[in-house]
């Protein structure tokens, strides 16, 4: 049985072994031999396979629900203590942030090195601008 029949044909082979085919024929053939979603190949350097498309959709549903809660909280302003409201909004934003980074940016499945680089930028930004806000917050009004 050929590689094509077993569905394990590689991208390089496709180009090399079917030089005369049109784009439509190529796409039709790729569609037929495409592996199932649960067999998504890993990209170079990744340590785990990507989530399935179904998982991506589930994450999107969770993100929608969290956004709806955020917007709902906005309309509770005045009815709920402002500090509590701010804390809840921050928690929701942080959860959404981590969901997108982990699942959609594939921090869960990619090399930890990339995650560290990104985290360094985030932490550095928080420290630098935290210091800036703490330093200038009390002085700016008198300097305007």
């Amino acid at each position: 049985m050929s590689e094509t029949e077993t569905g394990t044909e590689t991208g390089t082979d496709i180009v090399a072994e079917h030089p005369g085919e049109t784009l439509e024929q190529h796409e039709q053939r790729m569609h037929e031999i495409a592996p199932r979603p649960e067999l998504l190949p890993m990209l170079p350097g990744e340590i785990k396979p990507h989530p399935k498309p179904r998982d991506y959709v589930l994450i999107a549903v969770v993100l929608c629900i969290l956004t709806a809660i955020e917007v709902g909280l906005y309309y509770l302003e005045g009815d709920v203590n402002d500090n509590l409201l701010i804390a809840m909004l921050i928690v929701l934003a942080v959860v959404k942030f981590f969901l997108v980074c982990s699942w959609y940016m594939h921090m869960r499945t990619d090399q930890p090195f990339f995650k560290r680089i990104f985290v360094v930028g985030i932490v550095l930004a928080m420290i630098v601008y935290g210091i800036a806000i703490a330093t200038f917050a009390s002085t700016i009004p008198s300097e305007l």
Binding site: H26, I59, C101
Partner: protein, 218 residues
């Protein structure tokens, strides 16, 4: 499954990755993809870039009242329902982006193009919403020069919008390459790298939407 490159190497020849269904890439000194590494470093620097504008917004937040600057205040111009819809659209564009990546990984180029176009379309809807919002604010008397709120708001959200616009152009270029048959399954990493940029723009908006629009002003 084995990692694509097990050990650092000086070689720049194409190394077929073991068990990766035909993906091949250049060996690098670091053992990780240079293109992806470059994008992550760029995104890390972008965190500092946007951090500067977000913290500036917070530094000047509510100061217009203290110094008696004229012009509308945030609560007078915001339309949270409208901005929530555009935020939702941008969030959904992240879903279509990962579906585009999954499609090219499966070798399904028809769906790749559909999802790329859908992502670009959602991005354009977001930008259209932002243009409408800016126009409405201007009609209500808020411009870049009106007061501190106007300066910090338009600068921050405008720069974010510029990033989204760049992302849309990038997606359309990828879509065009796919239409020409120049984007094959082994180029999945190109889609992932553009996706990293797109998702970053999305997470920045998650922060902006909460910090600028939703957090109580007083």
């Amino acid at each position: 499954m084995a990692q694509a490159i097990a050990a650092p190497s000086d070689s720049t020849e194409l190394v077929p990755a073991a068990g990766d269904h035909g993906h091949a890439h250049h060996a690098t000194n670091t053992g990780v993809s240079n293109a992806k590494l470059g994008m992550w470093v760029f995104l890390s620097s972008e965190a500092l870039f946007f951090g500067a504008f977000i913290s500036t917004y917070f530094l000047y937040r509510g100061r217009d009242e203290e110094v008696g600057n004229p012009g509308p205040r945030p609560r007078e111009v915001y339309d949270i329902a409208f901005t929530s819809v555009t935020s939702f659209v941008l969030l959904m564009s992240s879903l279509t982006m990962v579906l585009a990546l999954a499609a090219i990984q499966r070798g399904d180029h028809r769906r790749l193009r559909i999802w790329l176009l859908a992502t670009a379309f959602f991005g354009m809807v977001f930008i259209g919403g932002q243009v409408f919002e800016f126009t409405e604010f201007y009609r209500e008397g808020l411009s870049l020069h009106t007061n501190l709120f106007g300066s910090t708001f338009f600068t921050l959200t405008g720069l974010h919008g510029a990033h989204v616009t760049m992302g849309i152009i990038w997606l359309l270029v990828l879509w065009g390459r796919s239409m020409q048959g120049r984007l094959h399954t082994e180029h999945a990493e190109a889609i992932e790298i553009s996706g990293l940029y797109w998702h970053f723009v999305d997470v920045v908006w998650i922060v902006i939407f909460t910090a600028i629009y939703l957090v109580p002003q007083n």
